[in-house]
Symmetry: none
Subunit: 197 residues, 4 copies
DNA sequence: TATGAATGAGTCTTCATTCAT
DNA sequence: GATGAATGAAGACTCATTCAT
């Protein structure tokens, strides 16, 4: 039976919607249950506590995100294309899943994230990190600690997605392309090693 | 009286510390009061509710941040220097006020920020926006919607500051310089109008 | 089928163990089921409710206790020996079945026992009462209401067994003998009718 | 102000009544609060949790009991009189405070009592123990471990009080006197050292 | 009969807010 | 204004019981 997985998914999605609207605190388990179409007690057959639910929801989203991002990726592709792909598909994911974006942002800035074992998630981190590292090692990206480059990339993705979702600017495919160009131009290293001044 | 302002400040700082540690939900008014050295009821002489307190705290921090950022700014300076200054002093502010960073990040991603009239804050936004707009208009920055550029800049500042505070990379003045260079290189438009490819 | 009786017994024993450790309240039906090796719903094929289960468990234990106590009894024996036997075998039962002791003590002091029809149990009461009554009637015991004498006897048995189980004193066979001697000396009536002063 | 102590007392008494009627489990904090004339939350200003409340209630009762028992005691009195006094005033206390009796009996047989530090209560234990020890040392009582004698005494007190309260026998002052006589006769040692056989 | 996932009423507990002093 | 005890609504969580399989 797919039932169990289905029920968990229903609870995840219900939680996601409510947390986006009301925040962690503003989202009672009773309402999560109601919106998921189950009884309050049922949640506790699948998750030990509200905290566990949120922690697992985090992992669930990371997995979905990774899947979405790998769909277009291909190690045989040109580095720059892979770089662009990554940035854009990550951004797309957030734009298409705004609840996920707001959840993630609340999560990483909340005390929950400190308690997270962060191991499952490493699969996501690793994939991303390897791409950046490779760029630095092959000299395509400037010689800067890959963690810093990641921070820069991730920061831009999230903020651009948020700006889009807040409807403050229209950001179509053309704009996205233009934006990644900016990121790339900043991180890219000229073949002769001379970064633009 | 300075007393009132002092008491408000004490409440603000107490709130800031607790929210960084425990999050909005994990921070009861009673504890804010205790850490601020006042009685629980006293907070309600200064703030209508917990929500008001948090909303005002947001403004309080924006003001402090603006003040910090304007200290080194000077309209007579070279554009690139002003740009660098802005980025770096903003980042410095967060690094020196980690509680403020974590508060702001929780705030902007919470349902609180949706209710914020966003008017007070415009002072901050305006100052920043004008700089970016000027860059675009004078052709020093690529011709991209200034809101997008702001998003990119802000995203990088916040994420670099977080990475620094999480102690995952050592980020000294040299690294900061190097990082803004990346941002600048990405946004800067070559005099001849040809952006790097 | 022996199966049904076996299953009931398994449920009884599981309940007994858990109630000793956790008390009535701390013992969920689900755990009783798990420790008994059956499903939660199965219990309800054998008992109408948790209350019924506990009420029947009470009877189950009374029966086991009576059986244990009658094993050494024999109407042909000397009265004093029967008296000693009763006291000691009752105490032995509790010492060998500490779970039963703790269950009974919780039970008789709980609101459950008020609802108990107390009929089944009379078999136990009767056997015991008859012995005491006979003692009074034959003048071997002091002329005191047999219910009072029973209370005295039962109170000493239970408390001595508890003291033993709490490991606060070592109580071997010699001590037991000495203790019943005390009880007997107190209740026994001198042939000449003069009770000790 | 006596207010705080008064409020605690009101909560204690409310708890006592309800626990006698409904048991630990059947007594919700909300009802304790209502019967005590306070709000549910108020209880938590005085007690950390339901468990703490019950633990403190235990101590509260021990104290009241000790006080009642010492009222008639006097070291200058004849040993036998003190012994009788102790037994009877203890029994009286239970008869006059049936709620206390049922609470104590539930308590000592529940998992709560295992967590009790049992230190405060030692005052009670010590007073009682000293009396018994003195009896053994002076040869007035049979040479049996004082813990065993205590168990016998306490067991009889509690069970006689219960029998009285269950209305199964009328136990007046004359009967009480007669009963302690039984206990005394059992434990007392003949001057010539020959216990009755 | 046996199962065990699902139910939802009921519990303990927290905490924003009030108000008499 | 300041205090902090009191309030009680609301939330997380438990568990006896049911019922479709």
């Amino acid at each position: 039976m797919e039932n169990i997985a289905d029920k968990k998914r229903a609870i995840f999605e219900s939680t996601l919607v409510l947390i986006k609207e009301k925040g962690f605190h503003g989202t009672p388990m009773s309402q999560i249950a109601k919106n998921a179409g189950v009884a309050a007690g049922t949640i506790y057959h699948h998750f030990d506590s509200k905290e566990t639910l949120i922690l697992e929801l985090y992992t669930y989203i990371r997995d979905k995100m990774l899947e979405a991002m790998l769909q277009l990726d291909n190690e045989a592709m040109d580095y720059k294309d892979r770089f662009f792909n990554f940035w854009i598909s990550h951004c797309h994911f957030y734009v298409k899943n705004p609840n996920a974006l707001f959840f993630m942002e609340q999560f990483v800035n909340s005390p929950y994230s400190n308690r997270d074992p962060l191991q499952e998630n490493e699969r996501f981190q690793n994939t991303f990190r390897d791409l950046i590292k490779a760029g630095v090692e092959t000299g395509l990206l400037k010689p800067i600690d890959h963690l810093i480059l990641s921070a820069l990339i991730h920061g831009t993705i999230v903020n651009v997605a948020k700006m889009h979702l807040c409807q403050r600017v229209v950001i179509g495919e053309a704009e996205l392309q233009q934006i990644v160009e900016v990121i790339w131009d900043g991180m890219h290293q000229q073949p002769n090693g001379a970064a633009t001044s």
